[in-house]
Symmetry: C2
């Protein structure tokens, strides 16, 4: 009996805390089918664990707590799940809406916001307990509710988002989280479908599904209101069908340039980030989806919509020309760079693998098995504005 | 006997792993006298532990492992100490030289480099074991050894540093760590005393103690060699004594501008970061030492040399004008922003405290006691190029 107790005492605390982990080199791979996540380590390039029971992960995204210990997963089915990366368990899970599209975490790390399609609006939760703190219905016109898209966090404890049906951009100041102060910008263009905030947190840019150009809000000069930039961007001519609307959060800032996917064209557009003027069109092999800069800005990596989605192309940002084409596998959905840029992890959904590249040599370093992998999110996002 | 064993078994593993910690919101405060460090948490704004036995910390700096679990402390006496932030202990400590000035960690996290005065050169260690991997004596002229300053890590697994006595900049490519490849740039100016690398890892800039101007190396165009920029910078006119040469790593990048401390003048200089031309001189209350941007670039914080070192001033980077003056305490030595910028921690050496400010309201949030605090280093540096 005593021996058993000793063995139990020796085993139990150690199994709960078996492996002491720094949380700076962790990440999550979303598996779509069957829905699950893998917790991975970018130093060892290994999978640490798999967690199921997370609902529908067909369009999932992830943000991290400021200590990088917890991940918040936003599922398509309105699920919000808090994962403990140090113990490989679900800390808490709620269904907060009928249909949701993404989320953000406040600058101080205390609030998690979710943007919802059904019912249209933003809900704000305690990052610690997932208790509801505030509800912001996206009311417009005659009391209708709009779908909400393009939700990001911004400096000075703000959330910013766009109302797809209303054509509006709202800023929620959550200094006092139970009573958010809302500032509304109306008539910003028809059907904003996604948005981004620049890495410095200064410019919020929304893509317009039913209008040409992009809606730009300079958060340092709100009194100037929303401007339209790149007046020819968007609504493609009729020649090419658009297989996938490019994600805006996949736009790349590198030095003086912004690299953005042309809609429906086999081109990456290079924009001067001071004047918002087009500098160059770089021909690529397909319709670009994500256009992502290596953290030092020396390369931009591009993936593509069907039928060219087994490929990646790498752009040299000094010469503004292609430097390499790669074929990681079928249906490349997402890419994530390690924070100092020496690796990039690429999900190839239909080959059930994640391929890791050395970004200097442009060669494969390792690969992991994953079931229909889509998004890849590293814990260093904890320290980034707008991610 | 068995009871004792049970109690021991229950206590020991739990005391070793008492508190499970994410490592994303940790940091270190250097205490100069008596020499020690405090491990702190920026979410709770509390001190977690104190560690002694680190030698001379009068000019200490810190880098972090890529998992943010370990800190490497470079002491003035040539000590290199690896701290485990999760267990509040020294993992390993060596004396690697007679007199050292700082260090860096490689892009892949596997190598820690230290720049030494005595003997002049750079030594490279395994980040895991602190075993010596490579020794790069800073040989120049007739076999003399130069003091080494301004050591930084750079993209694609490089270290860059300057030779004070030789007037040279060296790039060490450590892809093959046991046989670094060295590229030397000679006649870059007299007595480089410190250097920085821009946050994107593109430009290496060295300050010149015995020359006017600054030495600039564009790492994307090495064939162009080292250029001299800001030809009037540095060697002050004779009117004002220089109380302290400004640290170059304290320069601020914010939007299109670079904010740098004028040497010996009561001014912060604003430089266009594309043309390297002077845009404006902003008058401040003393000789600036550190000029640091809030991570979103909306503010720049400035501290000062004696006799104005009880103060801080905050510059509004939109208007390029002063917005606030603060008095944290006597002998303000260093400032560190949380990675998303909502807090800044300030050390006031001669009042034995660290003061934490809310950067939006510009008000004090909390203060901690510390013995003669100097440098403050947060674990989010693990994910930054050049820090």
């Amino acid at each position: 009996m005593n021996k058993l107790l000793i063995i139990l005492a020796l085993l139990l605390p150690c199994s709960a805390f078996a492996e002491l982990r720094g949380s700076g080199d962790l990440g999550i791979i979303i598996e779509r089918e069957p829905a699950a996540i893998q917790i991975i380590n970018t130093s060892t390039q290994k999978s640490l664990s798999k967690i199921t029971g997370l609902g529908d992960l067909s369009h999932a995204s992830v943000v991290y707590s400021r200590d990088a210990r917890y991940a918040y997963i936003f599922g398509r089915d309105g699920g919000l799940t808090k994962i403990d990366l140090l113990q490989d368990v679900i800390s808490k899970r709620i269904i907060q809406a009928g249909n949701s599209i993404g989320g953000a975490i406040s600058q101080d790390g205390k609030l998690v916001a979710v943007s919802n399609y059904t019912p249209g609006g933003v809900k704000i939760f305690s990052s610690e307990t997932l208790e509801l703190i505030a509800d912001i219905p996206a009311v417009y016109g005659d009391g209708k509710l709009s779908k909400v898209v393009g939700l990001v966090d911004a400096p000075e404890q703000k959330f910013i988002f766009s109302l797809f049906d209303a054509g509006e951009i709202w800023i929620a100041d959550v200094q006092n989280p139970t009573a958010p102060k809302i500032e509304k910008f109306k008539n910003i263009g028809q059907q904003p479908y996604d948005a981004l905030i620049t890495p410095d947190g200064r410019y919020y840019i929304a893509g317009l599904f039913a209008d040409r150009g992009l809606a730009l809000l300079d958060l340092w000069s709100l009194e100037q209101g929303v401007k339209r930039i790149l007046p020819d961007y968007g609504k493609q001519d009729e020649k090419l069908p658009v297989y996938k609307m490019p994600h805006l959060e996949g736009w790349a800032m590198a030095g003086d340039f912004m690299f953005i996917p042309a809609v429906g064209q086999h081109e990456v557009l290079v924009i001067n980030r001071s004047t918002w003027q087009l500098v160059k069109r770089i021909p690529v092999i397909g319709q670009p989806v994500f256009v992502m800069a290596r953290p030092d800005g020396r390369q931009v990596w591009v993936n593509f919509a069907f039928p060219d989605n087994a490929h990646l192309q790498v752009i040299d940002t000094k010469n503004l020309s292609l430097m390499k084409s790669l074929s990681p596998g079928k249906a490349v959905l997402h890419m994530e760079f390690t924070p100092r840029g020496e690796q990039v992890w690429v999900s190839a959904r239909d080959d059930n693998r994640v391929v890791i590249y050395d970004t200097q040599r442009l060669t494969e370093m390792a690969r992991l098995s994953a079931n229909k992998p889509s998004g890849i999110f590293f814990s260093s996002r904890a320290h980034k504005l707008g991610l």
